[in-house]
């Protein structure tokens, strides 16, 4: 089964698509059959970064049932071994993917036959993003060293936590849970996933054990993008320490990616940054990350969708 790496980050413009395309390219160069999927529904960009400005088919064809199988919507890219499911010609209501369609997509992704699958997720914390993120234990968060971006990434992490808890309960049970949390921990605390977990621990130990197992199985990763020279290089480590201490989630810091004006140039010229500027700090940072993606072996559990 493929290793699925959802890449999300909360805030727009933090470099999710750029990193997805770069990591995809590197993993392909290192000999893995790699697929990148544009799941930034309604704001798709990945095809441009992957060097396929006008793909003949895409994700929408699968949703509209024009192409019955997801694997048939895959297009090749100029880079050998790298494949793409593009969102270029998505229909205009795709951003609001209905639940059944989403489930169908998730099942189809889990069955695809590739060595590595990278999902480029959109900004924000819509259910689509959260559910696609939860398809794998190896979700990667991307943030830049700016308060706005850090804020959004924390929000995303908490939303995912919340979403996972929410999955375990039906509407009435969950409402009861919220009321109970509010009663115990005061106003607004139903919105804190860690408080909810505390209530579950007391009211429903079985579910708690199950959830706890699942959360401890998560191996979330963190990449800090657009790190300038004077930025705090230890930010990633400190963030992962905070998350582990206060939310109890594993968040492994993968590395910093240096800021470089040339990324902008490469995107404007529509050429691959890694090919055009291979000897920049940014490129070497990306190479480091690419190696980690390729070398990560071990078990990978895709949740619930098989």
């Amino acid at each position: 089964m493929a290793h699925v790496w959802p890449i999300g980050g909360g805030k727009g413009g933090s470099g999710k698509s750029f990193i997805t395309s770069s990591l995809g390219r590197l993993s392909a160069e290192l000999g893995k059959k790699t697929l990148i999927i544009d799941l930034d529904l309604g704001a798709a960009n990945l095809h441009t970064l992957a060097g396929v400005p006008d793909p003949e088919k895409g994700f929408s064809d699968f949703i509209r049932k024009k192409i019955p199988l997801l694997e048939d919507t895959v297009v090749t890219t100029p880079c050998a071994n790298l494949f793409l499911i593009s969102g270029a010609h998505d229909n205009f209501d795709i951003a609001n993917l209905p639940y059944e369609q989403k489930l169908k997509t998730l099942r189809a992704i889990a069955k695809l036959d590739f060595d590595r699958i990278l999902l480029d997720l959109g900004a924000g914390t819509s259910f689509n993003t959260l559910d696609f993120f939860l398809i794998s234990q190896n979700g990667i968060f991307i943030t830049t060293p700016e308060p706005t971006s850090v804020e959004n990434v924390y929000r995303l992490i908490r939303s995912i936590y919340f979403r996972r808890i929410r999955y375990c309960f039906n509407v009435t049970d969950f409402n009861e849970l919220e009321v109970e949390a509010e009663r115990q921990f005061g106003d607004g605390s139903f919105n804190k996933p860690d408080n909810l977990m505390k209530v579950i621990a007391r009211t429903n130990p079985k579910k708690y054990a199950q959830l706890n197992n699942e959360f401890s199985a998560f191996r979330f990763k963190l990449i800090i993008n657009q790190v300038r020279k004077h930025d705090n290089a230890a930010l990633g480590l400190q963030m992962s320490r905070m998350i582990e201490k206060h939310l109890g989630l594993n968040l492994e810091f993968l590395g910093n990616v240096a800021y470089d004006e040339h990324v902008h140039d490469a995107i404007c010229q529509q050429v691959s940054f890694l090919e055009r500027y291979p000897y920049t700090k940014t490129a070497s940072d990306l190479h480091e990350l690419g190696k980690q993606i390729v070398e990560s072996a071990g078990e990978q559990l895709t949740l619930r969708y098989l």
Partner: protein, 217 residues
């Protein structure tokens, strides 16, 4: 179950071990402040104002307790009583020894003290072979090699002492014209080689060698 921050003991709060020394405690305290101080990017938006104040108060309390020997003693006793940490080892802490800054994992460098000038001279004066060689008018590479083996020295030792590369020394001993280093260098090499062997009248011997070699050419 994972404990809340306010349930952690002071050591856990600061991420240190119960036998941390004051330096480590101060360091951990600074690191914690970097995480939780109000302007910190790391915890931006992660806590509400109130939560942040509570955490900072706890960290301050932890630091003030642990950095004060007497308070720390009392706190430790409390923790030991609750079974959270193990009883202290009362023996005096092991004295730290200086550690080396560099770890170059070469085989240990032992400088060969072999050119004990007097000993060599002694041997030279005793050896009939060497006397014979030095009595001749010519001095070939083969002769040098013989002197060297007579003195019980290896090529590597010579190379170490003179800083001349081993292959140069071999070719000097071999005496084959095409393998020798350029004459300019050769002169110097031969002189230091002879000197290293502990021979006297190096100048004269080296001229003898050069003549012999140039005769080969």
């Amino acid at each position: 179950m994972r404990k809340d921050f306010d349930q952690l003991n002071y050591y856990e709060m600061l991420d240190i071990t119960p036998n941390a020394v004051p330096y480590e405690i101060r360091h951990a305290y600074n690191a914690a402040l970097q995480l939780y101080h109000p302007g910190s990017l790391v915890s931006y938006s992660f806590f509400s104002e109130r939560e942040r104040r509570e955490i900072l108060a706890l960290i301050e309390k932890a630091y003030q307790t642990l950095i004060n020997d007497q308070l720390r003693q009392e706190y430790d006793d409390e923790l030991i009583r609750r079974g959270e940490i193990e009883a202290r080892d009362e023996s005096a802490p092991e004295v730290k020894k200086p550690v080396s800054v560099f770890h170059i994992s070469r085989s240990p460098y032992v400088r060969t003290v072999f050119v004990d000038g007097d000993a060599l001279k002694n041997r030279i004066s005793q050896s009939q072979v060497i006397k014979d060689i030095l009595a001749r008018n010519e001095l070939s590479g083969e002769d040098l090699k013989q002197i060297r083996t007579e003195l019980g020295l290896t090529v590597e030792q010579i190379a170490e002492e003179t800083k001349i590369r081993v292959n140069h020394i071999r070719s000097i001993e071999g005496g084959q014209a095409q393998q020798l280093p350029p004459t300019v260098f050769l002169k110097g090499f031969v002189k230091s080689y002879l000197k290293c062997l502990g021979l006297e009248s190096v100048e004269e011997l080296s001229v003898r060698y050069m003549n012999t070699v140039s005769g080969l050419k």
